[in-house]
Point group: C2
Chain length 347, copies 2
Amino acid sequence: MTAKKPTIDDVARQSAVARTTVSRVLNGGPNVREEVRERVWEAVRALNYRVNPQARSLAGGQSRTLALILASDLEAQPNSFYASALELGALRECLALGFQLMARPVPQDAPDRRRRVLEVMSVQRCQGVILTPPFADDASLIEDIRREGGHVALISPGGAGRNLADGVGIDDEAGGHDIARHLIQLGHRRFGFISGIVGHLSAEQRFDGLMRALGEAGLAAESVQVARGDFTFRSGIEQARRMLEQSSAPTALICANDDMAAGALSSAHALGLDIPGQVSITGFDDTPVSEIVWPPLSTVHQPLKDMGQAAVRALAGRVSGASRDAPWRFSSLPHQVVVRGSTRAAP
Amino acid sequence: MTAKKPTIDDVARQSAVARTTVSRVLNGGPNVREEVRERVWEAVRALNYRVNPQARSLAGGQSRTLALILASDLEAQPNSFYASALELGALRECLALGFQLMARPVPQDAPDRRRRVLEVMSVQRCQGVILTPPFADDASLIEDIRREGGHVALISPGGAGRNLADGVGIDDEAGGHDIARHLIQLGHRRFGFISGIVGHLSAEQRFDGLMRALGEAGLAAESVQVARGDFTFRSGIEQARRMLEQSSAPTALICANDDMAAGALSSAHALGLDIPGQVSITGFDDTPVSEIVWPPLSTVHQPLKDMGQAAVRALAGRVSGASRDAPWRFSSLPHQVVVRGSTRAAP
DNA sequence: CCGAATGTTGGAAGCGCTTCCAATGAGAGG
DNA sequence: CCTCTCATTGGAAGCGCTTCCAACATTCGG
């Protein structure tokens, strides 16, 4: 079909050195004369040689493969923008660092979710796993992955995870605080909060931040009512309707992510409410969803692509041994309140 | 870190046969006594053995890796729901068939897009590539992939691709026809069509279908004005505004995908128009976007997950040689008009 | 009952790469 | 001038698997 691909031996022959030396050059090893190094690179170019990653993995005992575990209910909500953005950031960094990335959507409530995650270790021989919430705070899962010989990096760990592996995320508490303060400053006094699933600790911190903002403004804890959603658009619709149908409904709905805020928006529209005239609604994440809906959502921007990228970088460091014994490190990335059209002064 | 993983030799020893025999059993080869076969499987279970895909690839000369090329402008519109749905379907089938999948977003207007695509062949050693529009109709790209020894499957080829490789998609012409007829039956007589990028042939067929529906209803070609978008939300906003601001604006906007329809919705809202009271808007694809916006979009459902799955299946057949010499086959999947809240009788 | 055909098994040679270790050459120190 | 280092290079042994081919066992037709 096609001419056989050149191998490292072809390069060795062409540049008149031993295979070992070529390998050294390819991997940036030390102890090769500059002249030889150049000669080898030249041969590589001339032959259009590419290392065979399979062979390299086999020989080196390193698969250079990372897995990204995405919590998702496949049917209900296929990969959301949230997941896509993380994946994209991770993918890019993998490309740059010469790693492979396998994205794996795993339903968070599947009884065999643990097995599904561990399978990437045993079957795909991944060297590292990126865990997103709520998996990011599953201490025993992290332990299991380690037992299989894998490294772990966490996206937005909220609690346990924080001390168990490298992590990356924003300060969710501050994010929740900031968006709440935005609403308080607009004069709102009756709030509704639509939370995410149990176990998604970083999202719960957003609520903590909201409560702190309330306290700082001298508002009672009773000024906010809480409904539990599950991050899906549909749950946003349902919980928002419940709250909005009440006699003294909140004037501001704070949602733990954009999808639920979009659902809340739908419910408000369906009830004939004017947004933001009668009710303000906020999201969280600043995914494209927040721009697509009408009115566009005021939300908290989370640098998802950077987070995916940072997670890969952390993993790559551990895998290569560069940061072998360094203590777990959580890198906190900046967040930002983005004000769009879904919030306005309280009626 | 962890106990060394068992190898095929461990299984061979444990079941008292030669490595060759174990390999045969593992790969479902012929000529093994039932009794031996069982003995081997038992040893596999006992040792919790998993084949090492890297070693298998190297020895077999088959990487069992497929690539999914997604056209996307990374910055403007990170992986949309469209891409995610395809990826999910493909991923599942790969898992089932024992293939690896690498998703690769490639900007459709990057000058080095061809190189970026071909890189999955040379660097990742993929055996097959799934091309989505507009790459799906790039005859010379298909040829290049073949030259590198890869197989090709196409998602929604519209023209050239149809006769160059296996393909899967819906009947886009009929889809365009059906959604147009829906609008015509509602009494609309002035239409606006927001198209996709040049070269996205399957989307152009949607327009052909629209024109046919017009003709069948005895309406003049002049009853529809066309604006060129690029499938992004933003382009939907812009093109819709232009059309809606005119003195005799269309009463129905037909968009070539959901994202642009969402943009059109935004523009209509911004102009203070009532939807669907004053203007009806339709999308195409039936991605989650169409449910998230308000009012939810009437659109044409495209079974994206099934399409991703079918593409992988086609590729797997070619790779394994099962369908080596079969003629290229286009499988047409059913589409369906989904009526939601964004369409109503013409004012 | 015999040779041929067919079914079943094992031996061994790689696939393309990394890496341990030995070998070589060349300055440095005495 | 002669060891002793250390930088540089090459030889060779695998990594875990597939697969070609030879060896042996079994079956069948005549």
